[in-house]
């Protein structure tokens, strides 16, 4: 079915599925099939922030004082975060917008992706402060084998769905030969690709981000790189919301509250969905090994980080009905929760300032002299 930017046919949005129904025409929110997506939009917009509001200038001197092993951890981590948000800043738009059928979900996807672009801009903000010329760091993202391997796995499901959608929207269902390769396009296959892609995105938002968050907050626990940590806290808050949305989509499908065919596919592809998750867990453990290859840092090492991946995987997998495959009962990094909690409700004791009060008013004037009268 050819994509149209304004579908002239009047369709009943209350009868449309989330994806692969009629293209959206009027961006109206007076009648909503899944009202949750508008609530997510409102919440996300209320979270608005700009990286430039956060003062990261003290991080530069902190960074100089880190050991080489710690510098490797910090920079590799930022590279990986940059990769994840590079993908997420464009892919939901390109993959999901051409096939979405509900206005509130269409707007959610746009809002979601826009926030990922704020995250991308904040990595440049952080790196510009640490290095006079950060270009070598960015260049390495497409050269570093460890990062490339992850990128390939994450983008694979998006690329598959995008290509199949393009074939479907230009050639229709059927068997198409493109560059000597045969592609069978059926609605069932498209929906399967959609289902697997959403699972891959869910695993990304649920697991992949959290390994990097743990490293960032481990520095902050030692009162190092706190400007960076403040930015990552804001990013983590957004990612929590994005994760909620992918969990909603997967559960709406699985529980038959949307497209009945997607409920069948969810059953049929459960093993594949689990494999996507477990593969992400495995890759994150390998990433932990790479991070700590040159030595650990105080408060965090490969073992603890791997345990945290398993712990968080149990939480995330049970949220979408995939059970708890790992035998780990308690959180190995309990301080993580202080950084992940919302400002309004509880201020983490580790926070030097409440980030929601910091909008446009930043005190960057703290000199070493101020501690002169301080004796231990």
């Amino acid at each position: 079915m050819k994509y149209t930017t304004f579908n002239q046919q009047n369709s009943d949005v209350m009868a449309e599925p989330m994806f692969f129904g009629n293209p959206v025409n009027v961006a109206r929110y007076d009648q909503q099939k899944h009202a949750i997506f508008e609530k997510l939009i409102e919440k996300q917009i209320s979270f608005f922030w700009r990286p430039e509001e956060v003062d990261v200038s003290k991080d530069r001197s902190d960074f100089q004082g880190l050991s080489d092993a710690e510098k490797h951890i910090f920079i590799s981590n930022l590279k990986y975060q940059t990769l994840l948000d590079s993908i997420q800043g464009r892919s939901p738009n390109i993959a999901f917008l051409p096939i979405v059928s509900l206005p509130e979900l269409e707007t959610w996807i746009e809002t979601w992706s826009f926030y990922e672009t704020i995250h991308s801009r904040s990595y440049t903000h952080i790196l510009r402060n640490l290095f006079t010329d950060p270009s070598a760091i960015f260049d390495d993202i497409v050269e570093n084998e460890e990062i490339k391997r992850r990128a390939a796995d994450i983008s694979k499901y998006y690329d598959d769905l995008i290509f199949a959608t393009q074939l479907w929207q230009t050639q229709g269902e059927g068997t198409h030969v493109i560059d000597g390769e045969t592609h069978v396009v059926t609605m069932r296959e498209l929906k399967k690709k959609m289902y697997l892609c959403m699972n891959s995105v869910n695993a990304l938002e649920a697991i992949r981000f959290y390994v990097s968050f743990a490293c960032t907050f481990a520095f902050a626990e030692r009162e190092l790189m706190e400007g960076n940590s403040k930015i990552i806290r804001l990013i983590a808050r957004d990612e929590n919301l994005h994760l909620s949305s992918t969990q909603h989509i997967l559960n709406l499908w699985a529980k038959g509250k949307d497209d009945p065919e997607m409920a069948e596919i969810a059953k049929e592809c459960e093993a594949e969905a689990r494999a996507i998750f477990l593969n992400a867990v495995q890759q994150e453990k390998e990433w932990a090994a790479f991070l700590f290859a040159n030595g650990s840092m105080i408060g965090l090492n490969e073992d603890i980080l791997c345990q945290y991946v398993e712990y968080i995987a149990n939480q995330r997998m049970s949220a979408i009905g995939l059970g708890q495959p790992f035998d780990i009962a308690s959180n190995p990094l309990p301080w993580m929760n202080n950084y992940l909690s919302s400002d309004n409700v509880q201020v983490a004791p580790q926070e030097s300032e409440i980030s929601s009060y910091l909008v446009g008013q930043i005190d960057s004037e703290v000199s070493e002299d101020e501690f002169d009268a301080f004796e231990l």
């Binding site: 949750i36 609530k39 997510l40 919440k43 808050r237 929590n240 919301l241 994760l243 909620s244 969990q247 909603h248 559960n251 939480q315 949220a319 308690s330 959180n331 929760n337 992940l340 909690s341 919302s342 309004n344 409700v345 509880q346």
Partner: protein, 88 residues
């Protein structure tokens, strides 16, 4: 909201029971009792504290945005309306 001021009995399936305190969410009460429970946002949008409501009724202090199944609640933004039994 008068109901939320009432003190209710909170029981954990195969675990301890205690009395709720006025003006506190179930999560705050559980923490005060030293019962280990996961949380992140404490505002109903992440779903990390999700747990099963075996019996009883709760009221939400904010509109929960996280996915919760029909038999689940988010302790971070609920208060007990009746005596409740939870499975964590």
């Amino acid at each position: 909201m008068s109901e939320t001021k009432q003190i209710r009995s909170i029981s954990i399936a195969n675990g301890p029971s205690f009395l709720s305190t006025p003006d506190n969410t179930l999560l705050a009460d559980l923490e005060a009792q030293g019962i280990p429970i996961e949380y992140h946002c404490r505002e109903g949008y992440c779903g990390a504290c999700r747990c099963k409501l075996i019996s009883g009724e709760v009221d939400y202090t904010v509109d929960p945005l996280a996915f919760i199944d029909d038999d689940e609640i988010l302790p971070c933004c609920t208060v007990a309306l009746t005596d409740v039994v939870l499975e964590i």
